[in-house]
């Protein structure tokens, strides 16, 4: 783009590109606010993948069959891989991964509220796959259409993997819901605890959602929180019913006129409480991440020392973690 254009002309051209459905790529001109909003969203998404390893990871050691153990390790590995991939997407906008991680560890960055709830029984792992990955897919499928190229491309592959998680979770819970009394209790107990938090994953009601208008004009966000939430509810309610599970909402009903499932009121006070750091597991999640970070300090120092030495020798290293 020729340099003599004014900021407003550039902005007009930029918005026209988005309106035409073009993707914005790393070297392209973009408004500072677009860059800032994207870094915020992508890094929150990356942090969610990283913190999201913890609740499910805690059950790897207890998985009750070889196959379930394998599937769970694979799933948590997927999440970590998504995290790395998303940090790269944020870096393509000029962010530094270390700064983003520092913000997370300092408690200054957000990540998905859902991971501030505890995993209390083995069936939670399946319920998370079904509900949490199911809800995440809704959001991420929308984001495959996002205007920023690296983010939208990452979402396509991430969605494919999340879909697999969702299917595995659904398969597991469906099996347990028809299994022994003990398994049925586990499955129902998991649903009772994960139902409402999973609905909150779509974020606050549209009326209370800041940022939304600009994000939508710039094609970073394509559907409203409430619209996505309703889509999710309409799909997941019949699935849970088909599995023979009881959704913990006495007000839940099907509305013939609109064709939608309508839930009772969501406890938004709880949502804000958790987002402000006072959920059941906020402190524990950050503690775990900080411990990993602090315990790893000497390792990172050794890596840096070795890398600087071997670059002097001119050795080419292709081992992970070398930067």
């Amino acid at each position: 783009m020729p340099p003599e254009l004014t900021h407003d002309e550039r902005l007009t051209a930029f918005e026209a590109r988005i309106a035409r459905g073009e993707k914005i790529e790393p070297g392209d001109w973009m408004p500072d606010d677009y860059r800032r909003q994207l870094i915020r969203m992508i890094s929150q998404h990356a942090h969610s993948e990283i913190v999201g390893m913890l609740p499910e990871g805690a059950w790897i050691e207890h998985a009750p069959s070889l196959r379930r153990k394998l599937i769970l390790i694979a799933k948590v590995q997927d999440e970590a891989g998504h995290g790395q991939y998303l940090y790269h997407a944020a870096e393509s906008l000029g962010a530094e991964r270390q700064d983003l991680i520092d913000a997370l560890l300092a408690g200054k960055a957000k990540y998905s509220n859902i991971f501030n709830y505890p995993t209390l029984n083995w069936a939670d792992v399946g319920m998370i796959g079904w509900l949490v990955d199911g809800a995440a897919i809704k959001n991420q499928t929308m984001l495959t259409g996002a205007s920023y190229g690296p983010y939208s491309r990452a979402m396509v592959r991430i969605c494919a993997e999340e879909t697999f998680h969702y299917k595995q979770g659904k398969e597991m819970i469906t099996l347990y819901a028809q299994g022994t009394p003990h398994q049925r209790r586990m499955a129902q107990d998991a649903l009772d605890r994960w139902w409402w938090p999973s609905l909150m994953m779509f974020g606050p009601p549209d009326a209370d959602s800041t940022n939304s208008t600009t994000l939508m004009r710039w094609g970073i966000k394509l559907k409203s929180n409430d619209a996505l939430r309703q889509e999710f509810i309409d799909e997941i309610v019949p699935e849970l019913h088909a599995a023979g599970l009881c959704i913990p909402d006495p007000d839940l009903r099907y509305d013939e006129n609109s064709g939608h499932w309508l839930t009772g009121p969501i406890d938004w006070d709880e949502f804000w409480r958790v987002i402000k750091g006072n959920g059941p597991m906020n402190r524990e999640r950050l503690r775990a991440r900080r411990t990993a970070h602090d315990d790893g300090l000497w390792v990172r120092e050794a890596m840096a020392a070795y890398a600087s030495r071997s670059s002097v020798i001119g050795k080419r290293s292709t081992v992970s973690g070398q930067r």
């Binding site: 799933k75 491309r153 494919a160 799909e235 997941i236």
Partner: protein, 217 residues
């Protein structure tokens, strides 16, 4: 000192010298999933794989079965069929009983059971009365078995296809990797282990963007 622990593994059978497809500079947009939650399975696409009817009885041919399997996609790479992935080794049809022999990509592939289920669902929908899916370990799957079409689809999906190595470990580990978007070889490895067993993470200096490679094995 280079530590040599074992000789190169033997070349797998079927490892034809396929060239890794080189893109022509077009950047196909990846196929975005249209429905967030997976669609119903076992859809019957009669146009793609038409079993023949003779004397009022359904006759399954092995061609029809292969064609149907061509529509069964990898659970984590929805553009790549199990046939293009090279995991379907053999199909035998005896009347309306079908036996499919497959091999896992990696020993710890978490998708194996799901692949077996998808095959069964698809072939029952095709009209098979019973379907057996056997798993064999030998000959061991090699990424060389991914078809040319599979390689094109991987690339369009944003995954750099693995180099054809013919069993040569040096090529397997150190061949030039190209960005699936721009074909540049100005790339850096960021992690030899990616989000799944079969992937590595790279960074393309030209696109200033990360990409994943389907790892050679």
């Amino acid at each position: 000192m280079v530590v040599k622990l074992s000789p190169s593994p033997p070349a797998p059978p079927h490892s034809g010298a396929q060239a890794v497809p080189q893109g022509e500079g077009n950047f196909p947009e990846p196929n975005a999933p249209t429905s967030p939650l997976p669609a119903g399975e076992g859809r019957v696409d009669m146009a793609a794989a038409n079993p023949t009817w003779s004397e009022g009885r359904l006759t399954l041919t092995s061609d029809a079965v292969w064609a149907a399997l061509h529509e069964v996609m990898d659970p984590e790479i929805p553009v790549l069929s199990l046939v293009d992935l090279g995991v379907v080794r053999e199909v035998t049809v005896s009347g309306d009983v079908v036996t499919v022999t497959m091999t896992p990509t990696f020993s710890g592939c978490p998708a194996l059971v799901e692949m077996q289920r998808l095959i069964e669902v698809r072939l029952l929908a095709l009209g098979a009365a019973s379907v057996a899916v056997n798993t064999v370990l030998a000959p061991a799957w090699s990424s060389d078995w991914i078809s040319d079409e599979g390689r094109r689809k991987l690339k369009a999906f944003g995954l750099a296809p693995p180099p054809v190595h013919g069993g040569d470990v040096q090529i397997m580990l150190f061949d030039v990797v190209r960005c699936p978007r721009c074909n540049s070889d100005d790339v850096l490895v960021r992690n030899t282990f990616g989000s799944t067993l079969c992937r590595a993470i790279y960074y393309c200096n030209r696109c200033q963007d990360a990409f994943e490679q389907f790892k050679p094995l």
